[in-house]
Symmetry: D2
Subunit: 137 residues, 4 copies
Amino acid sequence: MVFRVDRRVRFADVDAAGIVFYPRYFEMINACVEDWFETGLEHGFNAMIVKGNHAVPLANIEVDFKAPSRLDDELAFKLVVTEVGRSSFKLTIKAWHEDEVRMIAKLVLVYIDMDKHVPVRIPEIMRARMLTFEEVK
Amino acid sequence: MVFRVDRRVRFADVDAAGIVFYPRYFEMINACVEDWFETGLEHGFNAMIVKGNHAVPLANIEVDFKAPSRLDDELAFKLVVTEVGRSSFKLTIKAWHEDEVRMIAKLVLVYIDMDKHVPVRIPEIMRARMLTFEEVK
Amino acid sequence: MVFRVDRRVRFADVDAAGIVFYPRYFEMINACVEDWFETGLEHGFNAMIVKGNHAVPLANIEVDFKAPSRLDDELAFKLVVTEVGRSSFKLTIKAWHEDEVRMIAKLVLVYIDMDKHVPVRIPEIMRARMLTFEEVK
Amino acid sequence: MVFRVDRRVRFADVDAAGIVFYPRYFEMINACVEDWFETGLEHGFNAMIVKGNHAVPLANIEVDFKAPSRLDDELAFKLVVTEVGRSSFKLTIKAWHEDEVRMIAKLVLVYIDMDKHVPVRIPEIMRARMLTFEEVK
């Protein structure tokens, strides 16, 4: 399965050159992961962080910016899981505008205990749900 | 030479978990590059973009988050040049808190013509200035 | 008519105290006005600014924060027009969570020519469309 | 006494029209208040919120935008206290560029207990320090 979020480029996203200011892409990426937890994995950040005392901080991210995006461009963010380890997992998120890839992001996130700020084993139910979004090779 | 910018973690930078919200790191990285152009290369974004019709969009970035940063932490962003090509150049920016590395970012930026949005040769004077910040191997 | 935009409070919106960081409210307010131009007035910012060379900068805003909003709260932003003058117009935007008002914003915006940065008469068609959102007294 | 913070308009602050995107002004205003607590009142947000369990949420703000600010403009934010009540206090912050006022903000903030989220009496030492920044009539 691929998890998809649509997002139009807004006035707040573009810089003086009229193209998306790249730190805004990271807010979009973060929002995509947040939405995936909420509706894809059915375990939103509020439940996870406030009630479950877990968090999934970003350990590593690599982003390729393929082509600029402009005001009003409709972007489709498509997320797939590429690996689920003991306490970390890997995602690839591509932002498409029609049939052009604008950005490819590869993320490594870690499941942690909020109080001790140490990695913990990903709960089995979460692992199982994550695997339903695994990329078909 | 190493280019350095100091930046305290502000209230606006931290999330509900009390640590820096990672999209804010990219604003800090962008600000570090902006300051480097302004005071390190003596050719600020305003001169470059508004008057010179050039821009330096990010083509690729990879970031390792080594340890979380909290409200009031003093961060030192240290920038070095790792490569200067025909129209692209590579930077490494590390954010230090005292003697702990919090974040390592590797960036590839491209010198472009703003109107045509195509890569152009890096002006010789800029290349020479960039090389003064090259990392000593 | 009332123009309405729904917006859930996201992780990026809340601060270390777990409530909406107020500068984020102004992004939401701006996005509400942007959406109103796009779908309510059928004359989006892209058409207006990039093609029409007009803009509607904010001249004055007053905001009352009635109650804090937290992660995952569903907010309904409701916009009405309270006055349409020669070159300026007034809006009231209220953010509701269920039957509680969280925030009341009163805005004065000015229709300007982008090049000269001076007020211009609001085009008749825009005035007519704005008036369809006028608050019933 | 007047509390002053200098802030140059950065690339991240300006919109597609080349002027400061107004939600960014509210980050600057918030940062000015944060700096005032830190260095003016000698009781920073970290000490107040994390250790003292107090916060100073914004209850009301009114902002007049007098003239647009552009990339690289040097802004001086000047803060004065206009009233200190039992649990609330009022500030005026003006942003100057050279001898032109760009923005005037009037804020009402409330001293609250973080757990109960109710107003509390402003501690005497804080009241006394605030009054040293009172505007001379």
